[in-house]
Symmetry: C2
Subunit: 317 residues, 2 copies
């Protein structure tokens, strides 16, 4: 299996449970494993009954397993602060106030959260993964962030154009400032150009790693909406030349006892039957194989049930 394993899917399908179960199994199988959660509800902390923060920390009682939780809201705020600090050294005070307004606005726009999430997990891949054989994420890039991934050439192209414009404007500035050597110096250690190049490399790294050293699984529930969304998600991956390795069906309705009679039994049988048809449709219609069918539990999945859940996963560690 690749070093990076992603379990994607819509909110509520059970990505965190499946990710923890898989990570737990990898660790038991001897791999140094890190599970990374981006769920703002801190559900990894719930699963292991232990608080985690934004640095990897050992999971008590499970050898070789570390966990960390990233909060995209925090990441967004940190991002904002970083840009502000960098700016205050680079531009005039008047510009800072103008740029601050624009920054506040851009962080309020739809999509800022998703972009921060994407940045956060690529950062983990780059800076935290070195000591681990396996890094498991309870999220995967979605439609719109996949577009970011799929556009490295486009983005590179765009940044190149920005760089060109910026060089042009410095050039003009230099011509205007005859006898003053300041502008040439600005171009050479130019902090804006440096920053743009950093972003370009960031996206190149992300695209390259996702293509060569990552495996993507999608978690779904046996309802029509989830099946439809999974179909769209598979298409989005395919469009970006990424392959979904397998599908995990979670929260299947359990059957009643064989002889059980009554309103409850009738309701469950109808439901189980409908779900079965839907999963047949998934098995036949979708390219990635169905690698797990996990039944719904009325109790929350905690440490001791993890091995159970992991056992239903037909995924190599």
């Amino acid at each position: 299996m690749e070093q990076f394993v992603f379990f994607g899917g819509k909110g509520g399908v059970g990505k965190t449970t499946v990710s923890c179960a898989y990570a737990h199994r990898c660790a038991r199988d001897g791999l140094r494993t890190l599970v990374v959660s981006t769920d703002p509800a801190h559900s990894v902390s719930d699963v292991f009954d232990q608080r985690f923060g934004d640095e990897p920390e050992s999971v008590a009682d499970v050898d070789r397993l570390d966990a960390m939780e990233i909060d995209p809201e925090d990441e967004m705020q940190r991002h904002l602060t970083e840009i502000r600090e960098a700016l205050s050294e680079q531009v005039s005070a008047a510009m800072v106030s103008e740029i601050n307004r624009q920054l506040e606005m851009s962080h309020g726009t739809p999509g800022a959260y998703e972009s921060a999430l994407f940045d956060a997990f690529v950062d983990v891949m780059r800076t935290e993964s070195e000591p681990y054989d396996r890094v498991v994420f309870d999220t995967a890039p979605t439609g719109s962030t996949l577009r970011l991934l799929g556009l490295p050439e486009f983005l590179g192209d765009w940044i190149d154009r920005l760089l060109y414009k910026r060089e042009q404007s410095i050039d003009l500035f230099e011509k205007a400032a005859i006898g003053d050597m300041e502008p040439r110096r600005l171009l050479e250690g130019d902090p804006v150009i440096e920053r743009l190049n950093e972003r370009k490399e960031f996206f190149e790294y992300a695209g390259e790693t996702m293509r060569t050293d990552a495996a993507f699984f999608l978690v779904l529930n046996p309802d029509q909406l989830s099946v439809n969304e999974t179909e769209r998600a598979i298409e989005a991956f395919t469009e970006r030349d990424l392959r979904v390795r397998g599908l995990v069906a979670n929260k299947l309705t359990p059957s009643p006892d064989e002889g059980e009679q009554g309103r409850g039994a009738r309701y469950l049988r109808e439901k189980v039957e409908t779900e079965r048809e839907r999963l047949a449709q998934v098995r036949e219609g979708f390219d990635p194989p169905l690698v797990a069918e996990i039944e719904s539990r009325t109790t929350e999945v905690r440490g001791d049930v993890l091995a159970d859940v992991a056992a239903s996963l037909d995924v190599e560690p």
Copy 2:
């Protein structure tokens, strides 16, 4: 009740079902009613077993009820085409190609879909609502689009600044073009300034109407994720000085028969009990009242079940 009624909530909670049931009841009660769906899965067409498009159309067999379906993807494409056409008349060919690149990019960014959705439903409010006593939407502004709504002053302010910059640049241009009267004419019928003012008015209208002539309901399911999301959604509304009128709990697990024994009955009883506790938590902890508790059905909700569902809604028509 206000003219505009919104049923918001996450995908899959049953917004379309609840919206159709409520609209159906309004129409039966004598109100000229329009139900507007933004669900790309065309579920309103499924409910009434009739195809609808992006213009209001009578629902067969239900007097006074019209329906329409908006596809935000289509809206996004239309938007793109509109801007392109407008541009080709206003700027040079070289600029058109540059702007086209930027447009393609911005339509690929996260959030473009949500913004298009918001534009689409505000458009319906402005241009289609006149013949109706009640317009029911199977969606409501979400966190990030609520921010757009909550920022009319901010946006107005921002547009004012853009206008000021644009006037300044035209002014400079005019000073440079001594003896040439072209630039002044440009400022007076300036298509860019006109467009910016249009957007400003659009957001002012949206904010004003949502504050004075709209009622918002949130649909939730009795699972923890849905309850947490509903809490966040209520906060987002409150932050924008909008009030959530009521909460609709949908897809409640039905109880088994009283004497029923077996695995199925045990599973359902535990599930019903957990859901009951969660709804108690909603009733006590959340400000908007719980106005409906609707049981899960194994069959899809079609025309004949609508009256049934509507009967569980404690919402005035």
